[in-house]
Amino acid sequence: MGLLDKEFSDGNIVIAKVDDLMNWARLSSIWQLGFGLACCAIEMMATSASHYDFDRFGVIPRNTPRQADAIIISGTVTLKMATRIKRLYEQMPDPKYIISMGSCANCGGPYWEHGYHVLKGIDRVIPVDVYVPGCPPRPEALLEGLLKLQEKIRNESLRKKIA
């Protein structure tokens, strides 16, 4: 039973400080699962490339889910892929986060109407923390989504359950 599983009913100053420190560590070092699906993956790569540089935020791609903290669903999720994504997500160690990047991952995007093989929104399979709109989102938009995620992590607390 780890500390992160516990819930403290009343917060005191110590817990608040520990909270801050641990949240800071988690939000400053979000390692993403190196994993691209479709068009958005290219923008994701562009985001990690020199012009936008994901590394500034401490984000580095890890290729195995065991060492990743966040999974960026970058592109269309098909039914065939959804089970795999579910498994990859499951195989990540807690605490873990999900950014849904682009229209397709948000809700099936352009394929929502006739896409007989497209999962209409990754949130039908795994819980999403931040939705980034765009088709594909600009790198800045993805960075903004990341900042939003950091904001969310910053507000996490031992006092309530971590998402």
């Binding site: 699962l33 190196g34 994993f35 691209g36 699906l37 479709a38 068009c39 993956a41 290219i42 923008e43 790569m45 562009a46 490339a49 020199s50 012009h51 791609p61 290729n63 889910p65 592109g75 269309t76 098909t78 065939k80 892929m81 795999r84 990859l88 397709c104 352009p110 394929y111 109407e113 006739h114 896409g115 007989y116 093989h117 497209v118 088709c135 594909p136 600009r138």
Partner: protein
């Protein structure tokens, strides 16, 4: 009585750093030796053809963008040429020039990614970032013109969505001046690096007749030594006005048709694209960017197969029209789909590490394989 090592089935993908998306390769290996490779595709099957049947002709264009998302301009180009052929309309000169410039810029951008990922697969990460940096400049040009970075919806039936930006010509020239030294740098850093050569030369040799029978096209076919290019073979748009060479694999450091040849053909093609842009950029005629076409595009009954040279090879659109505002059937001949077929034969007898090099040199985009 040979010591039979048991074979092992190793999955590569769908989540794997070097399968360029969601390809899954099922490798049957003995030790590190590949006995067979089974590609499994369809992890990105987005039902393009079904969508195309439900859309009107102009509405299909945004979906064609998403086929080969690294070369969206080329996809648009092919589709509009097909529909224009079906409609039998003439396109203004200015549009043709701009389309060619855009397509060639897109080819450079796409090849940059191809080379970058090929290098990254082999372990060179720095060239990857240099090339993505340069790609970013091309994307800026596109964004300036039509407002989007990757999926443009720029070429429309009978014209273009926007005229070029007033700054476009100047910026493009600036880019070309910046780009030439980058290629030299790339050659120093990666192309002629001994390790890179050792990794790619004499690996994954694709003989010419096999390549043709497998329907390979684009740099894969040219890497095997045949100067086949739809731009020259079956000139569309105004490509017959430009002077450019078709680079082919020469077996400079290994055998003709190996991974290095396919890689190097792309490097040389970027140079040729720059040449085409240089010839075209100063001669853009004045005029309108939309020809007069009916508001509701309703081609006559018939079929058409139009093909263009996309960065990855011959991109063909087979459109059947039943005289409605929706296409009856759109079939895409996706170059990567065809090029990837050869993978299974190519990998036999290589090592695990070679699979990556071969896959990188085939340069696939799952978007158009699975459509």
């Amino acid at each position: 009585m040979a010591l039979k090592t048991e074979t092992m089935v190793l999955n590569m993908g769908p989540q794997h750093p070097s399968t360029h998306g969601v390809l899954r390769l099922e490798l049957e290996i003995e030790g590190e030796l590949i006995l067979s490779v089974k590609p499994h595709i369809g992890y990105l099957h987005r039902c393009f053809e079904k969508h195309a049947e439900a859309m009107t002709y102009p509405q299909v264009i945004p979906y064609t963008d998403r086929l080969d998302y690294l070369a969206a301009m080329g996809n648009n180009f092919g589709y509009v040429i097909a529909v224009e052929k079906l409609l039998g309309i003439q396109i203004p000169e200015r549009v043709e020039y701009i389309r060619v410039i855009m397509a060639e810029l897109q080819r450079i951008a796409s090849h940059l990614v191809a080379i970058a990922t090929n290098g990254a697969d082999i372990g060179a990460l720095t060239p990857f970032l240099y090339l993505f940096r340069d790609r970013e400049y091309i994307l800026t040009l596109f964004e300036m013109t039509c407002g989007a970075r990757m999926l443009y919806n720029y070429m429309w039936i009978g014209g273009l969505s926007h005229d070029i930006h007033p700054d476009f010509v100047r910026k493009t020239k600036e880019f070309i001046n910046h780009f030439r030294p980058t290629v030299t740098e790339l050659n120093n850093l990666l192309t002629f690096n001994k390790i890179f050569i050792e990794r790619t030369a004499n690996v994954g040799i694709l003989p010419l007749d096999t390549a043709i029978n497998f329907g390979a096209s684009g740099p894969v076919l040219r890497g095997s030594g045949l100067p086949f290019d739809v731009r020259r073979e079956d000139p569309y748009s105004i490509y017959n006005r430009f002077d450019f060479e078709i680079p082919t694999g020469k077996g400079l450091v290994g055998t003709v048709g190996d991974c290095w040849d396919r890689y190097y053909v792309r490097v040389l093609e970027m140079e040729q694209s720059v040449r085409i842009i240089e010839q075209a950029i100063d001669n853009i005629p004045e005029g309108d960017v939309q020809s007069a076409i009916p508001k509701r595009i309703k081609p006559p009954k018939g079929t058409v197969y139009a093909r263009v040279e996309n960065p990855r090879g011959e991109l063909g659109y087979f459109i059947i029209s039943d005289g409605n505002i929706n296409p009856f059937r759109v079939k895409v001949r996706a170059p990567s789909f065809v090029n990837l077929e050869v993978m299974g034969e190519l990998c036999k007898g290589h090592l695990v590490a070679d699979v990556i090099a071969i896959l990188g040199s085939l340069d696939i985009v799952l978007g158009e394989i699975d459509r």
